[in-house]
């Protein structure tokens, strides 16, 4: 069952690559808009780079997440999930993991390009990758929670309204780690905290998502 969920997600993404890669394009585009708007002052760009990359990643991951469970709700497979012998939170966790592979891993691959655009040092780019690798799973989980809570409701902005305040710590720790690295300081404390946030998110959100999905099914 778990494998079936995973394979289904992958196959869906494979059949509609535009949808899966839309987030990536958005990430690169938003990242490239800031130098155009602010001018090519390299010192300024270097200073704002961590924040810009993180905000772009956050928005790219939230984009389109309101439809995350809509297909399952429409074709009834969500009800089958709820009735299945495998616990719902495990299935949901699997789906989010697959979504993370589809949506966030391309961002990780594109992040160094964006970092070099802003003139980040090699160390800072390495820390950026580590921070994104630790932070984006939490963001995917939070986005899935928002999608489950707003499932079947009108208004896509509601998802952002609910999820953005909750994702602020990850944004802060993530950009803090990269800023530290680009100043030549140790990024370990911020990375540890990102890891702690991820542990908390892994522990709590699958259960909350499952609960929210059951509400949507009632």
């Amino acid at each position: 069952m778990l494998k079936a969920v995973f394979v289904r997600e992958m196959r869906l993404a494979q059949r509609r690559p535009a949808q899966a890669l839309g987030g990536l394009l958005f990430f690169v585009l938003v990242g490239s808009l800031f130098p155009l708007a602010l001018g090519p002052d390299s010192a300024l760009l270097q200073q704002i780079a961590p924040g810009v990359v993180w905000v772009a990643a956050l928005l790219a991951l939230l984009l389109g997440q309101h439809q995350l469970f809509e297909g399952e709700l429409a074709d009834g497979s969500l009800e089958q999930w709820a009735l299945a012998a495998t616990p719902l939170w495990l299935l949901v966790g699997m789906k989010v993991a697959a979504q993370w592979l589809i949506a966030a891993v391309p961002l990780l691959l594109a992040a160094p390009v964006l970092g070099w655009q802003y003139g980040m040092t090699a160390d800072a780019v390495g820390v950026l990758l580590a921070a994104l690798a630790l932070g984006t799973p939490s963001l995917s989980l939070l986005a899935a929670l928002g999608a489950a809570l707003t499932l079947g409701l009108r208004g896509q902005l509601l998802l952002a309204l609910v999820v953005l305040p909750l994702s602020i710590p990850i944004l802060i720790f993530g950009s803090h780690a990269v800023t530290q690295a680009s100043l030549g300081l140790s990024a370990a404390p911020a990375l540890n905290l990102l890891g702690a946030c991820l542990c908390l998110a892994l522990l709590a959100t699958p259960w909350a998502i499952a609960q929210a999905l059951r509400l949507a099914l009632e």
Partner: protein
């Protein structure tokens, strides 16, 4: 509407034989009790606010560093306290509703949230009005200010979600999940913001770093805090009564 009121006034007779707090968990009993209690809380709020303002604006001495500007703390500090307390209380009620499926708890959470958001706005607004003459800026990205702003976003996210869901049961439970997620996040937000902002700017002036408080000032502030409590209780009770009536109407349809 009359039918509703007779339906809700039947149960309180049981309460007269021996009043116990747990009976308040029943919406009809609570409806009657809140109807009797809220005018008292409202009157108490008015009295305490009048006393607090008199102590704060007339009796309390002028601060030798900040002058008259400091008097805004008589509104600012109680509002900031209330904004956080109310969030915790609303989340506790929402959690109770989620776990025990009590009928009243989600209504209380829903009734408290707008008041909490109002106090958050007051705290931010008065803080800005105080910051302009004292710090020379309406807004500083200081840890406290930022976490208070995020608290406002959490309130607004909750209110937005709850008002967008039409099915009341789902709205209650979904709102409870959001409130509880926010509670988990509040300490994280507070510390993350503290560490993050201290990197960018030096220590800002905090009111607790000022010379220790005059007794009269403290009395005024505590009176105002109690007034805010009484106001919040009165408003929340009235709002809960309205919500109980709304639910009763929906259930009869």
């Amino acid at each position: 509407m009359n039918k509703l009121l007779t339906a809700t006034s039947r149960a309180p007779q049981a309460a007269q034989s021996g009043f116990r707090w747990r009976q308040l968990a029943s919406p009809p009993v609570f409806f009657a009790w809140a109807g009797r209690a809220w005018p008292w809380f409202a009157a108490l709020a008015l009295l305490l606010a009048a006393a607090g303002l008199w102590v704060g604006l007339v009796l309390a001495p002028t601060d030798h560093q900040q002058g008259e500007v400091y008097r805004i703390i008589f509104l600012h500090v109680p509002a900031a306290w209330m904004s956080m307390f109310i969030y915790l209380i609303a989340a506790a009620h929402a959690g109770l509703g989620l776990v025990y499926r009590t009928r009243l708890s989600p209504l209380l959470a829903r009734a408290l949230a707008p008041t909490g958001a109002l106090f958050t706005v007051i705290a931010l607004w008065t803080g800005a009005a105080w910051g302009k003459p004292t710090w020379g800026a309406w807004w500083v990205w200081d840890a406290r200010l930022t976490s208070e702003l995020i608290l406002l976003f959490l309130y607004l996210g909750y209110l937005g979600l709850v008002s967008a869901i039409e099915d009341p049961q789902r709205a209650d439970s979904a709102g409870a999940i959001v409130l509880l997620a926010g509670v988990v996040n509040i300490p994280i937000i507070y510390f993350s913001v503290q560490w993050w902002s201290t990197l960018h700017q030096g220590a800002t002036i905090r009111w607790n770093a000022a010379p220790s408080m005059n007794q009269t000032m403290l009395a005024g502030m505590l009176l105002m805090a109690l007034a805010c409590w009484a106001y919040a209780l009165a408003v929340a009770l009235v709002r809960t009564r309205c919500l109980i009536l709304e639910r009763a109407q929906e259930e009869q349809l």
